[in-house]
């Protein structure tokens, strides 16, 4: 874990999700990208030749660098998806 949750008036209820098989508590209203940052998971997928690790860049839906597998569906943008109870997130950058 490298990130920290700060006092935040609008934080939602806790939701239980799994990140690469590991149980993680997130909060309703958080984007998947925010939860990945909180958990210190920055390498999300592998790039082209040499398969270098890649992570989210723009945070606003444009760059497509934050694609992860969510509930079995590949290539979902972490920055455009809110967490939900029971969500399973898989990254490929490990």
């Amino acid at each position: 874990m490298s990130g920290r949750r700060l006092p935040y008036p609008a934080r939602g209820a806790p939701v239980a999700i799994r990140l690469n098989g590991r149980p993680v508590t997130a909060f309703a209203g958080e984007t998947v990208f925010a939860v990945l940052c909180h958990e210190g998971v920055f390498a999300l997928r592998r790039g082209g030749p040499g398969r270098p690790p890649r992570g989210a860049l723009c945070g606003m839906g444009v760059c497509q660098e934050c694609r992860v597998t969510i509930d079995g569906t590949p290539d979902r943008r972490a920055c455009m998806t809110l967490v939900a109870e029971g969500m399973e997130i898989e990254t490929d950058g490990r």
Binding site: L6, Y8, M80
Partner: protein, 465 residues
């Protein structure tokens, strides 16, 4: 696929789209508001639940506008990407949950906002190098993504982000701004009546300085280093001609680099619709051409907000309202007071455009400066992150006599990947301009094609929905 009909469709649920929707909904005009994100507000606002700076009244007004929307008879489609526009206008929409939707409308307002502008440097593809805007959005969601940061790039936004990181308990080990201090200071004309913004800027500077952050201007992000993820950032001073000064390199350890070089407009939907564009570097690059009432060159299509010039939330709110009023006027549904407001808004818009020019100018560099800068970048530098096109490939194609961004795109696949070139097509234009000695707006805007977002291509074939 049968198209659903709406009197008015608004693409983009940021301040501009919301302000426009609020005007129309209050007048009882049935409209549709589309945004690809789950939450309204645009990237600058959607995560900022309640916690507004008293210095940002535009934010508070957008929130009020969002709340007022809920009471009106307006259809809001979040999590829905606009991926194509055909004459009519007819819109092709891609809901996040899959499938396609087609909308026919009498009038369309394009308010798709802006994205952050990036310039490449060695290591910019490392995980842990993220946009300044992304860091700010995380902070607004109440998450501090790391303990140690470097903030770098160009323009006035860097200081705002550094101040937010410090305020929320992070450490900014260095702020490296390629812009020079003199270019960042607002001209006196702009300061009149902006006392609150000036005070805000001074307080932010003070906060960053007091935290012990080194603020360096005329300083470049030379390299991001790390094994598998960012571990350190190398910065160096640059001279006025854009050459970095050997011996001034500093290696700064950090877990995250918040990086950005200003903003550039999301003009692609307007391009698809055939709207004429213009180029003004200090308003954000390629932009949608409009008249004073924000009508584009295509009948029935309006543009509002950052797409007409990158100028901040205040300008977007104003333009959203202006577009809404102009539409009501065309429909014969505006009284004298409304017409008076149109005139007032048109006048105020000019002042906000001047603010925009000040905001963008420090992140746009003189031709000679860019030439020296890009000439110094190494061959292995990745330009297109999706297709892994290197600077070497571009130099070779140039040397082979292909000297336009469009030609180089075809020859190298630069900008033909999954992000549709949204990250690198601006970079390619700048690199080619710099290496051939031309102006950045000297080439036609990069071409676009539907779908604007990756969708299952099978869906585009026929009657799949």
């Amino acid at each position: 696929m049968a198209a659903e009909r709406f009197e008015i469709a608004i693409a983009g649920g940021g301040p501009a789209g919301i302000a426009c929707a609020a005007v129309l909904a209050q007048a009882g005009v049935p409209g549709l508001l589309i945004d690809e994100h789950p939450r309204l507000g645009g990237p600058g606002l959607r995560d900022a639940a309640g916690a507004f700076s008293p210095f940002a009244p535009a934010w508070a007004r957008t929130v009020r506008a969002i709340r007022s929307l809920k009471k009106e008879a307006l259809t809001v489609l979040p999590r829905t990407g606009l991926i194509g526009i055909e004459p009519g206008p007819r819109l092709l929409l891609a809901p996040e949950e899959g499938g396609l939707r087609e909308i026919a409308c009498r009038r369309l307002v394009i308010a798709t906002g802006a994205r952050e502008r990036f310039l490449p440097f060695p290591g910019w593809t490392l995980p842990g190098v993220i946009a300044t805007g992304a860091v700010q959005m995380l902070l607004k969601q109440g998450i501090l993504p790391a303990a140690d940061f470097v903030v770098g790039g160009a323009g006035p936004f860097l200081l705002a982000v550094a101040a937010d990181i410090v305020r929320r308990g992070g450490r900014v080990r260095a702020l490296a701004n390629e812009s020079r201090l003199a270019d960042l200071l607002p001209p006196p004309g702009l300061l009149a009546g902006q006392g609150v913004k000036i005070l805000d800027g001074l307080l932010r500077t003070l906060r960053v300085l007091v935290s012990g952050t080194r603020i360096a201007h005329g300083t470049r992000l030379l390299e991001a280093r790390g094994a598998g993820r960012l571990q350190a950032v190398v910065t160096a001073r640059v001279d006025k001609s854009g050459r970095h000064l050997p011996g001034t390199e500093r290696v700064v350890p950090a877990a995250l680099l918040a990086m950005g070089f200003g903003f550039t407009a999301n003009i692609e939907p307007a391009q698809l619709a055939g709207c004429p564009l213009f180029f003004e570097d200090t308003l954000g690059g390629w932009l949608v051409q409009t008249d004073e009432s924000l009508r584009t060159g295509v009948e029935g299509i309006y543009a509002a907000g950052e797409v007409t010039g990158v100028g901040g939330a205040e300008k977007s709110l104003l333009e959203g309202r202006l577009a809404g009023l102009a539409i009501l006027e065309e429909m014969g549904r505006l009284d004298a007071a409304g017409r008076g407001e149109i005139t007032r808004l048109q006048r105020k818009r000019k002042a906000l455009l001047s603010f925009g020019r000040w905001f963008n100018r420090p992140s746009r560099f003189a031709a000679a400066c860019r030439t020296n800068w890009f000439a110094s970048l190494p061959d292995e530098l990745t330009i297109c992150r999706c297709e892994e096109v290197r600077l070497r490939d571009i130099r070779r194609t140039l040397a082979a006599g292909c000297r336009t961004p469009a030609g180089i795109k075809k020859a190298t696949r630069c900008g033909m990947g999954v992000c549709q070139g949204n990250t690198c097509k601006g970079i390619l234009q700048e690199v080619v301009a710099a290496l051939t000695g031309g102006p950045p707006g000297g080439f036609p805007p990069p071409s676009v094609r539907a779908p604007l977002r990756p969708v299952d291509l099978g869906l585009l074939g026929g009657d799949t929905v």
